[in-house]
Assembly symmetry: C2
Homo-oligomer: 215 residues x 2
């Protein structure tokens, strides 16, 4: 098990494998071949084998994978057997949409608090999630044992809010702002930049190519 | 110039480089060193040099980069000198938020049409963008010369809508649904899965690691 060194692209495919294994398991399927898995998740077999190789022996050659075993393995690897509380900061257009987003009905991810500066939004309950004022952020993050924050504030506010989140003990930030925020080394930042996603697609479209699988 | 073979992770960093070069140029800066660029975009220098090497000589060793030259190079590479019309299909919570999303005030990306099945939404103008019924999709995509579609429909509708988009002549799809949609080889699909982004962050958090830069 070399958990700490797996490539990011592999890590991003693990939730995909896990989701399909859950679907197969719900459908009562016991075994899955690497070809079937490859077609379902649309990742080539060689990439799947390489991804799985980071975790040692997950199946027998020519036999396929045991659906339940592999599903449990990924559940544990992805910490889907533990609840993760998440906060969202910035209840604007995108923030509101994310509060209503179902995150695939995951049973292990719960957005439990939102924060905003706007007095017209503070105090509301959006899709079951209370919106607190920014002044309550530190206290609520501590009380609710929240490790992860989704950042959907305006770009010019992002670094100040990150500093406050770090001071409040947040360990991971999913950054939807276009700013490249800075945080201490022990706070993980995952950037989701919607403009970049669109520009990358346009780039590949005009370079006449295919979109390569990430390594 | 090996446009067709650059890795996806490199392609995803090009918009980031381009954005900072525009900021530097707006600020009247003429030269930027690879160290300054590295700190600004938070990508290590070795990765930046490797990314740039796919495009031949972009700067002189020990001299840094000419801001304007490099900015123009990336503008051309990213087709930011041409207008790209984009459609959005599925004006639900996320779709509405994306219609209002500014895509960094890009001058070259214009979301010019939205489509939905809901008669209460069809006919409205959301943030300047008209919402058409699905039955007008093929016609509008053709008239407006739209190449790219943002897909924010419910998961169970996604493949049918993709089939209609392909029939209408769409060349690239930014897929926000959790479904792994299938499309002909000449139609590019870029998946943005918000649950996967969050699960990847949780994975790296619990594996006690750092998030590696993508290669």
């Amino acid at each position: 098990m070399k958990d700490n060194q797996i490539p990011k692209a592999t890590a991003k495919r693990l939730p995909l494998y896990y989701r399909y294994l859950r679907l197969l398991n719900d459908a009562g399927k016991k075994k899955v071949s690497s070809t079937e898995l490859s077609e379902a998740v649309q990742v080539d077999s060689a990439t799947i084998r390489r991804d799985f190789s980071y975790f040692g022996e997950l199946g027998k050659r020519g036999y396929g994978y045991d659906v339940k075993d592999l599903m449990h393995f990924f559940a544990k690897t992805l910490n889907d057997d533990q609840m993760t509380n998440v906060a969202l900061v910035g209840v604007g257009n995108l923030g509101s949409a994310l509060l209503k987003y179902k995150f695939h009905q995951s049973n292990s991810i719960r957005v439990s608090a939102a924060f905003d500066v706007n007095p017209e939004i503070v105090g509301r309950i959006v899709d079951g999630i209370p919106v607190y004022p920014m002044s309550d952020m530190k206290e609520q993050i501590s009380i609710q044992q929240i490790d992860i924050a989704i950042l959907t504030v305006p770009a010019e506010r992002s670094q100040d809010v990150v500093n406050d989140l770090v001071a409040a003990g947040i360990k991971g930030i999913l950054n939807f702002t276009p700013t490249r925020i800075t945080a201490p080394a022990d706070v993980l930042v995952q950037n989701v930049d919607l403009t970049t996603e669109l520009q990358t697609l346009i780039y590949f479209l005009h370079s006449g190519g295919i979109i390569p699988e990430e390594n």
